[in-house]
């Protein structure tokens, strides 16, 4: 026993800081790199997300090229290029070679990326599986910079291998990333192609050219307008957690508490701020002097004061028309309907739900409906059954809208269900960003949107079924007409042909529907 004892001092010698990069190197599944198939999709997703965000912010209609080519056993070269505003020379190494570095983490605004992990995480994965450096080429319209870089994992810092500068006579601007990584290429429901297809559905203003192992696919632009740029907002106090509140108190420029509450949050006016302080039994002192107990009282008090919901101009929904256009372009169906709900709030975060339905056409009629899930226009391909979208869809009674459905299952039929969750903050169930958490407010909004779209679809489905039934009915009568004529001829000696003629006349004229209905005669009972 004694020889194995380790003293606290010895233990302390072994303790050291872990860098973010080192952490994710060991826990790459948290970033979506748990298996070779998914890893390949994740790399493309990170690149395309960045390209769409960058072009949107730059007010440029996106032209995105993605190339995936096999270069060895389970090894692929991936190239992604956009026509965005580019990244300036000095920021290239940090933006691509350091995790948790970026422009999106410290603001509250609807965008695809949020944390500054995505693309540098992809480069980290590439380096981890192949040992090779990545090449980032960027231009803002002036000269072109090509940087070969690696990530120093222990320090979470970029290592520049080489840096070239070239002339740019064509005034190209944008970013091009090239890397090699381990992966496995498949086609089907969870694949690069499906990811890009769904991306095209949700972003019909983007043109995406994909050059994959089995050939080229072009997803055309069908809308020539960019979505409205969402505005940045201050956090709404209802959604602020205690730890964040304390950090904000420490960092604020405000000189007193009323100033802090009214400037750092949205929807807090002077009287609301004073009410909070009163409830928390706090003086209007310096925010930096607030101690832990006081912060806790304030955090509780905030929830008790009635506040207006957060502003919603930070949201950029796709809109019903765009959803329909996007679906029409990539889904071979006969009927499309979309519903955009008014904005709502969960935990102080504004969000908006949109639903699109595509029905019939070439969609398979004998299998379950397909669910297209989007968070801020980004397709979610994995962990469908953990996602709020799935829960809301399964909880909706689709039998009301003319579909069969077993309990706990998606409806059956030729149906694609699209659900878009737009928010300044998407509550993913994990770092892999594949499933939306099931807050009751979110489920409720999703169900309302599904129900409204379902109602509209059911009108169409019912009319279609009616037409089909009418046809079946006509066919049925057509079969029995000669039979009746034959029997009547035997009974009355009237000519068969004449009887048929008379009956056909009635068919042409149309029969009152209440007489042709489905009502059955009561069956004879007993003997």
């Amino acid at each position: 026993m004694a020889e194995k004892t380790v003293s606290a001092e010895q233990l302390a010698q072994k303790m050291r800081e872990v860098s973010v990069a080192e952490f994710f190197e060991k826990n790459r599944h948290l970033l979506g790199y748990e298996n070779p198939t998914k890893s390949l999709i994740t790399i493309i997703k990170e690149a395309v997300d960045n390209s769409l965000d960058a072009t949107n912010e730059g007010g440029i209609l996106p032209d995105i090229k993605v190339s995936v080519k096999e270069v060895g056993v389970d090894r692929f070269r991936i190239i992604a290029e956009d026509n965005g505003p580019g990244v300036i020379e000095e920021k290239i190494p940090l933006a691509f070679g350091k995790l948790l570095y970026g422009s999106k983490f410290h603001r509250l605004r609807q965008s695809r990326g949020t944390q500054g992990i995505g693309i540098s995480g992809a480069i980290l994965y590439s380096q981890l599986t192949t040992g090779k450096h990545a090449v980032v080429t960027s231009s803002t319209g002036k000269e072109i910079h090509s940087v070969e870089l690696l990530i120093d994992v222990t320090k979470n810092d970029p290592l520049i291998v080489s840096h070239k500068e070239e002339k740019n006579p064509d005034k190209w601007h944008g970013i091009r990333i090239e890397m090699e990584a381990e992966g496995r290429y498949i086609e089907g429901k969870q694949s690069v192609l499906e990811f890009l297809k769904q991306t095209a559905v949700a972003n019909p203003y983007a043109k995406i050219i994909y050059d994959g192992p089995s050939g080229k696919t072009t997803f055309d632009r069908v809308v020539n307008e960019l979505p409205i740029q969402p505005k940045e907002i201050k956090p709404h106090p209802y959604g602020v957690e205690l730890g964040i509140l304390r950090r904000m108190l420490a960092n604020t420029q405000a000189r007193n508490m009323v100033g802090f509450l009214t400037t750092e949050f949205s929807r807090v006016g002077r009287s609301s701020a004073e009410q909070m302080l009163q409830l928390a039994k706090l003086d209007n002192k310096k925010p930096k002097d607030i101690v832990h107990d006081e912060a806790e009282r304030l955090h509780k008090a905030i929830q008790m004061v009635k506040l207006v919901s957060p502003p919603t101009d930070c949201l950029s929904p796709m809109g019903e028309k765009i959803i329909e256009e996007g679906m029409k372009k990539e889904v071979e169906a006969e009927f499309f309907v979309a519903v955009t709900r008014p904005p709502a709030v969960y935990r102080g975060n504004p969000f908006q739900i949109e639903v699109g339905l595509a029905y019939g056409g070439k969609l398979p009629a004998d299998s379950g409906a397909q669910l297209y899930r989007f968070a801020n226009r980004v397709p979610l391909l994995y962990h469908q059954s953990d996602c709020a979208t799935h829960e809301a869809t399964v909880d909706t009674d689709w039998r009301r809208y003319g579909f069969s459905q077993s309990s706990g299952q998606l409806p059956q039929g030729p149906l694609v269900i699209l659900i878009h969750f737009a928010s300044v903050y998407v509550p993913y169930t994990s770092e892999g960003k594949q499933a939306i958490a099931d807050y009751p407010e979110i489920i409720k909004e999703m169900k309302l949107a599904l129900q409204e779209a379902g109602r509209q679809l059911s009108i169409y489905v019912r009319q279609k079924n009616k037409r089909k039934e009418a046809q079946l009915r006509r066919d049925l009568f057509e079969r029995y007409i000669p039979e009746l004529a034959e029997s009547l001829e035997k009974l009355t000696d009237e000519k068969k042909e004449k009887i048929i003629e008379g009956l056909e006349k009635i068919v042409k004229k149309g029969v009152k529907t209440d007489e042709t209905g489905n009502k059955k005669e009561p069956e004879a009972a007993g003997k």
């Binding site: 029995y480 035997k490 009974l491 009887i499 042709t516 009502k519 005669e521 003997k527």
Partner: protein, 363 residues
């Protein structure tokens, strides 16, 4: 129902056809008025002690996906009947089914798929034309036997019911044209089971008790019921009924006595309100110690018991309600055959004579 002549029957059949033709000429959705043959459209008349048919009519349309099949079946049944009358031949229900059966062009649909369908079409046709099945030249199978000191004439042949060996005379579906030459009997015994009839016949009960014995196998057919009724009406013979002790037996008894639900329109020609039930009663079980022969009720038996108990003709009948209550307590049924446990000829020598002598019956 009136007894139609052959000419009237033919006229009514043609009338049915020309009605449909008229509607077609006027470009109307052809419709037939079919009296409804369900419990909802029958009434029990306590005065006449008969089940009678209500006024309820159902419209049966040709241009109605739920009706079209039955509509054509009814017209086809009429066409077959007219043909039979024209050529002076008869068909059985089974043969009529094949006569009506044909496949619709460009389909795998048959005009009739099962005999039940053609049977129902014929029953509807009887109601529409006021002509019974026999008048339409369609016969049911012979079913049931009879024996007794009776001489009849059928189609010119003279038949003595006491001289037909072990089988007795098989009762045809149409007994309308039978002429009774001699009837030497004091009453009639009807038995639900052919096996018990054979027991009584072997024991020559008809001779010993001077009666007529008639059986069916299960529910009594129209021919048997009409024969019972004629003997009861024309010769004033009491009719005694022997059925198994269970709700099904109770219903067989009530059909003979009051009429049936599906043939309520011809109760007048079939019902025998004076018929009495000898057994098996619930009291018999106790009196003759048959408890150990009880066959435990299954769910369907219990359900049927509740149903029968609530029929109008039983509902206010105190003695029958007592029976149903006792059967429910016994929670089992007893077959007539169980009486043989008391002795081979117990039913013939003891059970029946005692019951009749002591007037131990349910009315």
């Amino acid at each position: 129902m009136l007894r139609l002549t052959k000419q009237e029957t033919k006229k009514n059949l043609k009338q049915l056809g020309s009605n449909v033709l008229d509607q077609i000429k006027h470009e109307k959705n052809p419709a037939l008025d079919v009296p409804i043959r369900t419990l909802s459209n029958v009434k029990y008349d306590p005065k006449s002690k008969m089940i009678t048919m209500g006024e309820g009519l159902a419209k049966r349309y040709f241009f109605n996906i739920g009706h079209v099949r039955k509509f054509v079946q009814t017209i086809e049944a009429a066409a077959v009947a007219k043909e039979l009358i024209d050529v002076g031949k008869h068909l059985s229900l089974r043969e009529t089914f094949y006569r009506m059966k044909r496949t619709l062009p460009n389909s795998n649909i048959n005009l009739v798929d099962e005999q039940e369908e053609s049977n129902a079409a014929i029953e509807d046709l009887e109601l529409i034309t006021d002509a019974s099945r026999e008048l339409l030249h369609i016969n049911a199978n012979k079913l049931g036997s009879v024996a007794g000191k009776v001489v009849i004439e059928d189609k010119g042949d003279t038949i003595d019911w006491s001289k037909l060996g072990s089988g007795g005379w098989a009762i045809p579906s149409n007994v309308e044209d039978i002429i009774f030459k001699k009837v030497d009997a004091k009453f009639v015994i009807y038995l639900e089971k052919a096996a018990e009839w054979e027991r009584l016949h072997e024991d020559r009960v008809w001779e010993k008790l001077n009666c007529i014995i008639i059986s069916s196998q299960g529910q009594a057919t129209r021919g048997i019921r009409r024969l019972l009724q004629r003997l009861h009406m024309e010769y004033k013979l009491p009719v005694y009924i022997l059925v198994d002790g269970d709700p099904w037996g109770a219903y067989i008894y009530s059909v003979i006595k009051y009429g049936s639900i599906s043939l309520a329109h011809i109760s007048q020609e079939l019902a025998i309100p004076g018929a009495k039930m000898l057994g098996l009663t619930a009291e018999d079980v106790v009196k003759y110690g048959l408890q150990k022969h009880l066959i435990k009720f299954e769910e369907v038996d219990v359900k049927r018991l509740e149903q029968v108990k609530n029929y109008d003709w039983f509902k206010d009948h105190k003695e029958w309600q007592k029976q149903f209550k006792l059967w429910k307590e016994l929670n089992g049924k007893v077959e007539l055959a169980a009486l043989s446990s008391k002795g081979i000829t117990f039913i013939s020598d003891k059970y029946i004579p005692d019951k009749i002598k002591n007037k131990e019956w349910l009315d």
